[in-house]
Symmetry: D2
Subunit: 333 residues, 4 copies
Amino acid sequence: MIRVGVLGYGYWGPNLVRNFHAQEQSEVVLVCDKSRQAGDRLRKAYPAIPFTTDENEILTSTKIDVVCVITPVASHHSLAKRALENGKHVFVEKPFTCNSAQAEELIELADRRNLKIMVDHTFLFTGAVRKIRQLVDEGALGRLFYYDALRVNLGLFQHDVSVIWDLAPHDLSIMDYIIREKPEGVVAAAEKHLNEVPDIAFLSIYFPDRVIAHINVNWLSPVKVRTTLIGGEKKMLVWNDLEPNEKVKVYDKGVSLSDGQGLHKLLVSYRSGDMWSPQVEQVEALTEETAYFLQCILENRTPFNDGLNGLRIVRILEAADKSIRNRGEAVAF
Amino acid sequence: MIRVGVLGYGYWGPNLVRNFHAQEQSEVVLVCDKSRQAGDRLRKAYPAIPFTTDENEILTSTKIDVVCVITPVASHHSLAKRALENGKHVFVEKPFTCNSAQAEELIELADRRNLKIMVDHTFLFTGAVRKIRQLVDEGALGRLFYYDALRVNLGLFQHDVSVIWDLAPHDLSIMDYIIREKPEGVVAAAEKHLNEVPDIAFLSIYFPDRVIAHINVNWLSPVKVRTTLIGGEKKMLVWNDLEPNEKVKVYDKGVSLSDGQGLHKLLVSYRSGDMWSPQVEQVEALTEETAYFLQCILENRTPFNDGLNGLRIVRILEAADKSIRNRGEAVAF
Amino acid sequence: MIRVGVLGYGYWGPNLVRNFHAQEQSEVVLVCDKSRQAGDRLRKAYPAIPFTTDENEILTSTKIDVVCVITPVASHHSLAKRALENGKHVFVEKPFTCNSAQAEELIELADRRNLKIMVDHTFLFTGAVRKIRQLVDEGALGRLFYYDALRVNLGLFQHDVSVIWDLAPHDLSIMDYIIREKPEGVVAAAEKHLNEVPDIAFLSIYFPDRVIAHINVNWLSPVKVRTTLIGGEKKMLVWNDLEPNEKVKVYDKGVSLSDGQGLHKLLVSYRSGDMWSPQVEQVEALTEETAYFLQCILENRTPFNDGLNGLRIVRILEAADKSIRNRGEAVAF
Amino acid sequence: MIRVGVLGYGYWGPNLVRNFHAQEQSEVVLVCDKSRQAGDRLRKAYPAIPFTTDENEILTSTKIDVVCVITPVASHHSLAKRALENGKHVFVEKPFTCNSAQAEELIELADRRNLKIMVDHTFLFTGAVRKIRQLVDEGALGRLFYYDALRVNLGLFQHDVSVIWDLAPHDLSIMDYIIREKPEGVVAAAEKHLNEVPDIAFLSIYFPDRVIAHINVNWLSPVKVRTTLIGGEKKMLVWNDLEPNEKVKVYDKGVSLSDGQGLHKLLVSYRSGDMWSPQVEQVEALTEETAYFLQCILENRTPFNDGLNGLRIVRILEAADKSIRNRGEAVAF
């Protein structure tokens, strides 16, 4: 039985407690939060799970195998570091760390001690993203052209991080999972209106072979949108995560160009066929993810969403921030 | 009776012929196109309107007051210039010219001869855009935060211009009409996949007072989207041009921040009230626009969508191209 | 060359003129309408087609092969009868006649003289309805369970007929085309609010083998809806005619029941698979229909949407009226 | 503290337990279900609440003030009767009883003993239905014309009741709440395909003053729809319960007729103005309802959704069944 301690019982922490509590191969042995109200909420939901306001009880306990770091980003590095130093596997909420140096240090530390890091890019465990990855890997879309994500709604405002560090990690981790290439450069723009951090931002990411990605995140939208377009040479795909049933639609549409006769005579032919919406598994992503983490620990395997995965996302976030500071300078890798 | 000659009878030209033909204060006296098939189409629809393949017949005619330049962008400058030199008012399809030097020359020329230039930013004459402008001008939205436009679909591929010069002028002219400020800088990214010009592009435009605009144009999208979000301090607005009836929706939603107690304790309060969809005039925009052009000529008034308006849009297009060439360099004005 | 005369140049007549004018095997030789303004409209659009306000000029002309009866329903029978008596084929707008006796008389008359009647159930020639028929005929849906159509919007109010005789013929003719069975009975309800004819009505039609159809028509709806659900044992289908692209969606969904152990223990198993939206031909239905009519005449074939087809629909309309008068009495056939 | 016993811990029972558990003025003292697995689920969620499989422990307990009857319809009457005979208030899931005689007996019994009956027509406590009732009561819609509800989806199949008794009580109770008139007659049609009870049904309900209601319920629809149209003389309303935010939309649309000159010359004028979507309270309906029930008990007030309310709905269900058996006979009241 893998014994789990959870640091942070705010918005997301309860989902970790619920899942590690329900998994057959793990138990939640201690939960920590600075807020006593969090303790009240825990007690009401799980009377049997002990609560503390002292993080050290988790970090130094000899009866804990896994530490979940579900706290504000600023504390990820120090908490994860101490957990690793105390021989514990860590499950860290996204974004992994505040910068790439912190991420590299944690990766190196885990490596040295043969401990697992999993960065909680939850979307990678949804039925929709798995199905999209499968379609791309099978070649159903053909050569990729672009990845264009829109993730906007009203709030939830964060005090400590910008809309980029808050929302974009979702799309960047999915993009990384689908495109599977190292980006060449990032061009970004953003603006802040209410607070000292951007609340609206636009990221363009260049990849080799003319693949381009774009991410539009916004905390000030009157409507909630979660839509991603993926264009390929053979087919194109729309993923609308707010659709209850038909989340992924694959369009047999495309354009091809061929030489016509004479100067400037390109012949354009459009193809427009059926649309197909594959059924997508309706599982809770976090259930899949926590089960996979336990399995990785038991089988001593490296999760695909490990520290390196978290680091790749942090690097793009850093590059976006730099590009914005310099009003659009392309930040190369 | 204002006598109109139309250069170009391809995709858009027939709409100009139909409208200037139907207006009470104008008549279409000659239509020119290089293609004889265009002549056949004209004859079928308007047996009484003469046709020529020789543009000089229009440009030098003494019986023509207005020349419509509805030809590929590359020819706008030379055709409009000759029309102005021959004392004719000109109505030019968007984008106005290939670069700002050309636009400036035409403006100066029209000015010297007291001739009118109208650049066909048709959307400015739609009921939806007029209503949005009215709402913004009345202060219904409060201080503007952002303008975010999405205009994507499959094709229509142009041989001579990129998706930026083809689709973005619509959104840039509307943005210019709504925001009414001079932009401070442009940051853009784009990629080409099938042809030698970009088919997908992302433009971010910085304005004074933290207003930011963003335009996403794409010729390779499997679905057609025409949606613009406009965020203000008091209200927010969604314009979906594909909705048959409820094109404009105004949301009584917003966020305000106030100081809480202690460090880093900003209190966020969300406001979420009614939504309201004002009825929008269902007129054909081009009918309004051509009537307005005739009125400007008859009353010797300068249209608001004049050469300077066209020039402002061309400058942003130039800046976007430059930013893309330099992989994101912010191009300041 | 088949010579066509058109009676009625109001809302729908111009579409007949345009189509028979454009078909290679026909020409429109005379158009009649009581209204002189109709003549002005015709002259503007087709200067070469002669116009009359005297229907006899069409009905008795020896230079006309086909008479289109595009007039109010009340006049269909007498005009079509005279046309047939004068040896002309007739193309009659839906609904065919005011009652089944009139329809039977016309059918008998055409039969005796070997003339063709086509009843203009235009929807049968749309890409969507053809695709649905094909899917049903191929057995893709399995045994049919139900056909449920919703056709509501604001107006267009008719003075002479109810919403049932105005809108329901569309759905009844499609239902007839898809289900291909003789109905067993009709149960209907309706109400009138502004005029002396119903403006909202609900028709249920029983077919053999537990197939049931339902049609909801309403002139007083604030929103326009054109949606039909078709349920089958193997698959289910949604046809939304207002969707610009994905009009037909086929769902791999279903329920099956099997006996469980013990009393009242039916095991229900739900099946929920992919959704598939076949591409649908984007042709103008009336172009297909008029071409088919000309072909039937030239090849001396009976069209499938002949007088008998029109009669079947009129019988259901009559039955619905009777059921409503008797507050729901099932009218059997 | 009002002491609550809950009979039935299947699909809906847990929601009652959760709500009466959370209300400050009540406590759940005992839960009963025939199934031992139900007991396991209860124990996991509420370790402190005792469980029994013997309904008599609840029905005869002297420590219980309120009995919730959340069991199959067939048992509602006998369980509620015994609870009332033992001096307990009863909260009964919809539909109230299997027939009106049963309902009348319970009402009479509760009346005699001054006990409260609440029938769980939960939708009457949603923000959307309250808002619609308020709009109708304020006269915002003007005189009512029709109420047209569509409630279709795949399953959940019931073994004991038809789709009419399962789904229609929702719409009938809302209709009753909005229209506030006694119906004059019911005309219904239905069909069964998999089981011995109808799985698709259409109910038309005539009210005085030309108000008509229509309810379309279907267990075999591939898509889930929850849409109600309400037409009035002044305005019209669409309630889409699946919309996360804009559930209620009020349209300033209408038709008026006036006499024109001469025979059959009614002038139709259409009005089409703004649309307005009022914000709707986002409360859990059952929380409101249970609080209201407790308040009614404490203040000895009769709830508006009492036994008589339940009886009115049962009478319409009975009439629908009779109409279907007789293939459409209008069943008068």
